[in-house]
Amino acid sequence: MNAEPAPRAPGARRRAWRALLIAALAAGTLLAADGILTIVWQEPVTAYMQHRRQTDLQRDLARLDARYAQTGAPATAVAPAASADSAAGELRRRTRRSALSLLHARDAGQALGRLEIPAIGLKTVMVESTTGGALRRGPGHYRGTVLPGLDGTVGIAGHRTTYGAPFRHVDELRAGSRIMLRMPYGSFTYRVTGSRITTPDDASSLRSRAGTQRLVLTACHPLYSAAKRIVVSARLVSEAPRA
């Protein structure tokens, strides 16, 4: 009577032990596979999370676009007789007003505009702020830097290996590469002027310079490390206020 349960207990323990080992083996394999995928492509789990957040951001940006289309649209054009210079000046003033109105209107992580870099196949929604939470959603605009359309430096940071890795290939940008920022109030095209490697605490590249409209992209460097930062600078070459 008492002899029957005795062999079962070790068998049950052994089965539980083996199940635990198999689970550990599967988990370890998944971890290693995740790391390998991160090296050859990007971190898949956070990429999936960021992809879903980008979908939400697209809706957020669509609402922002609609709001600017209603309230921020330029008034009727300058009188036909006005010179091209005054028309262009008027457009610039309107763009500046729209940029100023948007500069402090968005909370961290909210959609701000669309960032496109054809040379590295990037087309994504960027967000306000560079906090950890904001950067998990997309490239983030440095608070304290200006927005396109304003004199000064527009600063944008993005992940290189995780959360969609929007800036993974940012080191491949060369002088002359185009960068487009499509804001609710207009589109802005920049040309890369150069890049450099610096330390994380060197934010001098984000400082504005009077009379220039620059764009600065930053990301961790080298790939798979956060020891340094890569800074890509670009200069505004054209702007198209939204009708």
Partner: protein, 115 residues
């Protein structure tokens, strides 16, 4: 049979990882129509600096505004953290998987000898 089960779990894990990876699509649909813009206001293109490393630019514009839109001193004091360390993940994963495999093999041998 157990070896087959282990292999099945391994393959399922790899397929799951690959499935998650392939489900990603980095391109997104355009949100809004930017084609109806007003006439483009174009600033004269600057001659780009020569390649990587030529980042410093000259800003000597005689018609430049006296004050930039960004208040002095409001720029961030450091650059954002955007990195990760996948090698740590790989090492950790290989360690866990290797340890589990060794223990599984040892357990299997022990059960065989007991028979």
């Amino acid at each position: 049979m157990r070896v087959r089960s282990i292999l099945a779990v391994l393959v399922a894990g790899m397929l799951l990882a690959a499935g998650v990876a392939s489900a990603q699509d980095t391109t997104t649909e355009p949100l809004s129509d930017y084609t109806t813009t007003t006439p483009t206001v174009t600033t004269p293109p600057e001659t780009p600096a020569a390649g990587v490393g030529g980042e410093e630019e000259s800003n000597s514009g005689s018609n430049a505004p006296a004050v930039a839109s960004q208040p002095a001193g409001s720029a961030p004091s450091s650059l954002a953290f955007t990195g990760a360390d996948p090698l740590l993940l790989i090492a950790l994963g290989l360690g866990v998987a290797g340890g589990a495999t060794v223990l599984l093999v040892r357990d299997r041998r022990r059960s065989n000898t007991q028979r």
